[in-house]
């Protein structure tokens, strides 16, 4: 490390309206090194990155990059100086084509004018490094979150930078795609490029990272070689206290009492809309956590959208609480007693300019206004209870959601649907981007809600979460529900083979 330091930040301070987000943080990255940056939600990781790239101006501290003092006041400068960043919230332009999103800022030219042919080709080549083959001429918004994430990564790589920063790049990717990303990171490393890698999935870090820096409450509390620190060491440094939880369970879902599971609340038969959902059948009982497993593009989110009335199925039937159920719009599903916590919080869930309290009360509004007067005090109580229960780090119910860290925004969204007291809650990647501590709390909360009779439909790309959390698991593959497993049958091997090949000898007949 001593010979080849690429970046060093020391004594960085940053305050937002007087409240410190970073205090005397320091951070150093060697040349050709992959450096992990971890910490709880709101620890200051993204802020540190944004200070480095000039999006936020630091209040104090020094930055040396590539042997020279580094003074940048805009992301543009940082990019030009060789720092390429993928920000936590996918920051691209949805209406524009994939090519434009990849090439904006370093367009290919011919006779002084843009050379579209070459740019399309370059975009395709870059994406093919990630095994992504799409029509790069289409607007970005037509693709799913994972593809958009890949586009963001491809863009950052394309700049041939000295330092590539990735703020939670893997949160919306499945395991297969993560593996591809790691290959690319290793290639970058061989080319002498340094990578800063932020993630809440601690296991991942051991696969690619050389060093790790741990942040807590705006400070950098520890830097270590990845090989010299174990997971317990990482977690206790993050939380700031010794932990001695037995490592038997990867998640906080403990054994469930199956007698609490009631009768079927929602059942769907042969749902179809287009290629993404061709033939999906499943049912969820009250008090049960039903899991949806599958690779990306298996049709899990798309199925949830049908259930919630966002899209309308072309074929198939649904029954809710014994009645035929044909939602035409989300309001119908909400009225029936459903909640849907979407995976894409930025575009579908959160209203950034509104406060934490307003965001949480949004879906509850119709219910509350029906009684005429809005019960301010009652509202406050609900909001404060969920802020506490979910451990949302904010200055109070009136802080704008825009100002919260990514993980805390996710928690606000979850709080919104929980506040509604639904009978069926659809959770699409409920713990994405949430730190280990809070993740356990959220999982425990989901379980306790199910114990009280809530039916939960949980979509998750993390197999452990599905295996340990769900009472029954439905596996989707290319728009078809190919297998159903009960708690005892659901092992990692069984799920993986069903997800990949669609053959699950034990349970194939369970699904009509």
């Amino acid at each position: 490390m001593d010979t080849g330091i690429l970046l060093s930040m020391t004594g960085i301070d940053k305050r937002f309206a007087g409240i410190p987000a970073l205090s005397a943080a320091s951070f150093a990255v060697g040349r050709g090194e992959v450096h992990a940056l971890i910490g709880q939600n709101g620890a200051g990781k993204s802020t540190l990155i944004k200070v480095l790239t000039g999006y936020h101006r630091r209040d104090a501290g020094e930055v040396v990059f590539d042997g020279r003092p580094f003074e940048v006041f805009s992301p543009q400068h940082a990019q030009a100086s060789g720092i390429s960043t993928i920000y936590q919230e996918i920051n691209l332009v949805p209406y524009r084509s994939v090519t434009e999103n990849i090439c904006l800022g370093r367009e290919a030219r011919r006779y002084g004018l843009l050379d579209w042919k070459r740019m399309h080709k370059e975009a395709e080549t870059l994406l093919s490094r990630f095994n992504v083959r799409i029509d790069v001429r289409r607007p970005l918004m037509e693709f799913n979150t994972a593809t958009q994430q890949m586009v963001a990564i491809a863009r950052a790589i394309g700049f041939s930078a000295k330092l590539v920063i990735m703020d939670e790049p893997t949160s919306s990717l499945d395991e297969r795609e993560v593996a591809v990303l790691f290959d690319v990171i290793r290639q970058l490393k061989q080319e002498g490029v340094s990578v800063v890698f932020v993630s809440h999935k601690l296991d991942e870090l051991y696969e690619v990272c050389d060093h790790v820096t741990i942040m807590r409450d705006g400070r950098t509390v520890k830097t270590a070689k990845m090989t010299e620190i174990d997971k317990i060491g990482l977690v206790s440094a993050m939380l700031g206290r010794a932990i001695d939880r037995a490592e038997g369970h990867a998640t906080a879902f403990s054994e469930r009492d199956e007698r609490k599971i009631g009768k079927v609340l929602l059942s769907a038969k042969s749902l179809a809309i287009n290629q993404s959902v061709q033939d999906v059948s499943f049912d969820v009982r009250s008090g049960e956590i039903a899991g949806f497993a599958g690779l990306l593009g298996a049709g899990r989110t798309e199925t949830a959208r049908l259930v919630f009335g966002i899209d309308r199925p072309r074929a198939g039937t649904m029954h809710f609480d014994g009645q035929e159920f044909t939602p035409r719009k989300p309001a119908d599903a909400i009225a029936a007693g459903m909640g849907f916590c979407t995976e894409d919080r930025k575009s579908e869930g959160i209203v950034p300019e509104m406060s934490v309290a307003e965001n949480m009360m949004l879906a509850l509004m119709p219910k509350l206004s029906k009684s005429g007067i809005i019960d301010e005090k009652g509202q406050r109580e609900i909001v404060e209870r969920f802020i506490k229960q979910l451990g949302i780090k904010c200055s109070g119910p009136d802080q704008k959601v825009r100002e919260l860290s990514g993980g805390n925004q996710q928690k606000v969204l979850l709080g919104r649907w929980l506040a509604m007291n639904p009978r069926l809650l659809i959770l699409d990647e409920p713990t994405r981007g949430i730190d280990v501590g809070a993740k356990g709390e959220i999982q425990a909360l989901i379980k306790s809600l199910a114990d009280q009779g809530l039916a939960v439909l949980m979509i998750s790309s993390e197999l452990e979460e599905v295996i340990e959390g769900a009472d029954r698991v439905f596996v989707l593959r290319e728009g078809i529900s190919v297998a159903e497993f009960n708690r005892h049958q659901a092992t990692e091997d069984a799920l993986m083979s069903a997800m990949a090949h669609g053959n699950a000898p034990v349970a194939a007949e369970a699904v009509s």
Partner: protein, 325 residues
């Protein structure tokens, strides 16, 4: 597949289709509609609006709006008329310069002082109009005929009105800038997601600065044509031009929220509105019914709505169908 293509094409070219239908209608119904005199006078008159709409199109694509274009054109016409005795080119330069000044102030207000475009340009709309009235002493200012200034608006070049040539050149440049330069793509990116554009390392503020400046300059140029065409600077002209321009841009399928837009469709939008006006005049000329100016306004408004609704229907069906494949 071909059906899908067709529908989505109709969506983006709905305005062109409407334009063609309208022309067909006029040709079938009125003598002289496609006569040389009518064509050139329609083009001569609408080239001013075309220039203003081009600037507006770029501003709207960044997610902004420029309400000051009408007053800016009026100011440009007055300044150009006042300067015209010094020579045609000087008159032209002065008018455009006046427009650029207004554009500069708009640009500074929006990008440096972070004032909302609606508010900033509304203020400039009043300020520019006041300045025009002050300079003109509350009456129209006749231009100098000796300097040849009136040729700009009234003469032809290769048998085609000079203002139309100016508009054509402006649109060709605008089309190239939008589709084949990084600045043009950045305009759309800023409108699509300003924060992301900034984080991508693009000069979002510089782009916004530029579009307001250009919009002002083009409005000034429209003012020069106005003064030259009517032989006088018109301090009270330009009322409602901004609405005409916005309407043309929107009919052309450019999103008011920014991020999506087309220069060609904007031109088609201008022609559509201009020719509709022309058709209504012909209809009055036929003497069967007599439409007052008020009725003409109502009809134009309704027509605009129909086109916009059709456009939205067609394009949403286009994308929905495209997604299935």
């Amino acid at each position: 597949m071909t059906r899908v293509r067709l529908i989505s094409m109709l969506g983006s070219y709905g305005v062109v289709l409407a334009l063609l239908l309208l022309i067909l209608f006029g040709w079938a119904r009125y003598d002289y509609f496609l006569g040389f005199f009518n064509i050139t006078s329609v083009l001569r008159y609408n080239s001013m609006f075309a220039l203003v709409a081009l600037g507006m199109c770029f501003v709207i694509m960044t997610g902004g709006i420029d309400l000051s274009v009408g007053s800016t054109a009026a100011l440009g016409s007055v300044v150009a008329a006042l300067a015209s005795p010094q020579g045609a080119w000087i008159g032209l330069g002065a008018g455009v310069g006046a427009g650029l000044c207004v554009g500069l102030v708009n640009a500074v207000l929006v990008t440096r002082l972070k004032i909302m475009p609606f508010v900033a340009t509304l203020a400039m709309m009043l300020a520019a109009s006041g300045t025009a009235l002050l300079l003109a002493d509350n009456q129209s200012v006749s231009v100098s005929y000796e300097s040849g200034f009136t040729s700009i608006g009234q003469d032809n070049f290769l048998g085609f009105p000079i203002p139309a040539w100016i508009a054509i050149v402006a649109y060709v440049i605008g089309w190239i800038v939008l589709n084949f330069t990084s600045t043009g793509r950045a305009v759309l990116a800023v409108g699509g997601n300003e924060d992301a554009t900034r984080l991508m390392g693009l000069p979002a503020d510089r782009i916004k600065f530029l579009v307001y400046l250009v919009s002002g300059g083009l409005a000034g140029l429209a003012g020069v044509i106005l003064a030259s065409q009517f032989g006088a600077g018109q301090p009270i002209e330009g009322v409602g031009w901004e609405l005409f321009a916005i309407a043309a841009v929107v009919v052309g399928g450019t999103l008011l929220t920014g991020g999506v837009g087309s220069v060609g469709a904007t031109l088609a939008g201008v022609l559509l509105l201009g020719i509709l006006f022309n058709v209504l005049n012909f209809e009055n000329g036929k003497g069967w019914i007599s439409l007052s100016a008020y009725w003409q306004s109502v009809i134009r408004g309704l027509f605009l709505l129909v086109v916009v609704i059709l456009q939205a229907k067609l394009s949403s069906r286009g994308t929905a169908a495209a997604r299935e494949h």
